[in-house]
Amino acid sequence: MSASDSASAVHDPVQSLVQSKFWIFVQIAMLLAVITGLELVTVYLPFMKWLLVGVLVVLSAVKFMFVIFYFMHLRWDKALCTILFFIGLVLASGTMWALLKLFGADASKPLTMALADRPVAVRIVS
């Protein structure tokens, strides 16, 4: 490649993007490894349960977003790809949230478990 070709290659935004992605990917992989380590440490911290669950959800969401936007190229692709994937993701998340709310309610407790939760005296009387 001549000097003029090198210069044109450097100024070509598509080619320079492909060149720069290598280090972006390496840096993101290191970041993901660090976040995984943080998640591991988090579960052993003596804090309130809701706080730890919140931190874990946020950390895994950050990892999720880094992978889909960088490794899966959504950041550089047309918005339609993002919309298409997020339709599935939102439907899945909505279904999960609804099911967990539904089955998390007291009325959804299995009868055997509800019975076991009652005080012994109440169980004997009933």
Partner: protein
């Protein structure tokens, strides 16, 4: 300009020949992954629902799981995702040799992950006495992680096929979309594991 440098200016993110501007293979893969999201969403929900109200006699998950092994598997899968991204980057630059090494490393990491899963299942069944039929925890756990493992196995077979195909001489920079679509599938397997690692394993330790 040399042919390699000219080819390097190909824009792999936009395809002017389709009405959407997105290569059809990529669009198909994203639609499939969106549907697979809902599939795994249901499996994860089922597991979590039964963990909310474990029936009497359910084994204590914390005593069954090995967080060290699972963390190692997670790290391996993350690194395989990096190698897959580098493989796609290499074929987009027309560097076939680099793509082959990256694919080979991805396959290697995928096999390590599968090996860890086989070891984990074997330990659970024979040492912890947790099987797919003897408790709800076993049923939902093995169904969820087994389905994910099956996805990894399919990915490893696909990667191996692509690696062998690259030696026929028919895989060029213009076919980068084939490797990219395969990469999307592999990264999806990784993001599903990111959710499973938190929802199924880590939450048990809080």
């Amino acid at each position: 300009m040399s042919s390699q440098a000219a080819a390097a200016t190909l824009d792999h993110h936009h395809d002017p020949t389709t009405s959407t501007g997105i290569p059809n293979k990529k669009l198909l893969m994203w639609a499939f992954l969106a549907s697979d999201c809902m599939f795994f969403g249901c499996l994860i929900s089922t597991h979590l629902i039964y963990r909310l109200h474990p029936p009497p006699g359910t084994p204590i998950a914390r005593q069954v799981f090995s967080i060290e092994l699972t963390s190692f598997s997670t790290f391996i899968l993350l690194m395989s995702s990096l190698m897959m991204a580098l493989a796609v980057n290499a074929i987009q630059k027309g560097n076939l040799k680099s793509m082959r090494w990256s694919l080979l490393t991805t396959i290697f990491f995928g096999c390590i992950f599968l090996g860890c899963q086989v070891f984990e299942f074997n330990t659970f069944v024979h040492e912890k006495h947790l099987t797919i039929t003897n408790s709800i925890l076993g049923t939902t756990f093995f169904t969820l992680t087994g389905t994910h493992g099956l996805h990894v196995l399919i990915g490893v077979i696909w990667l191996s096929g692509m690696l062998l195909y690259s030696f026929t001489g028919n895989l060029t920079q213009k076919d980068a979309i084939d490797v990219e679509s395969m990469g999307l599938y592999w990264h999806f397997v990784d993001i599903v594991w990111i959710v499973i690692f938190t929802a199924v394993y880590l939450l048990e330790y809080i």
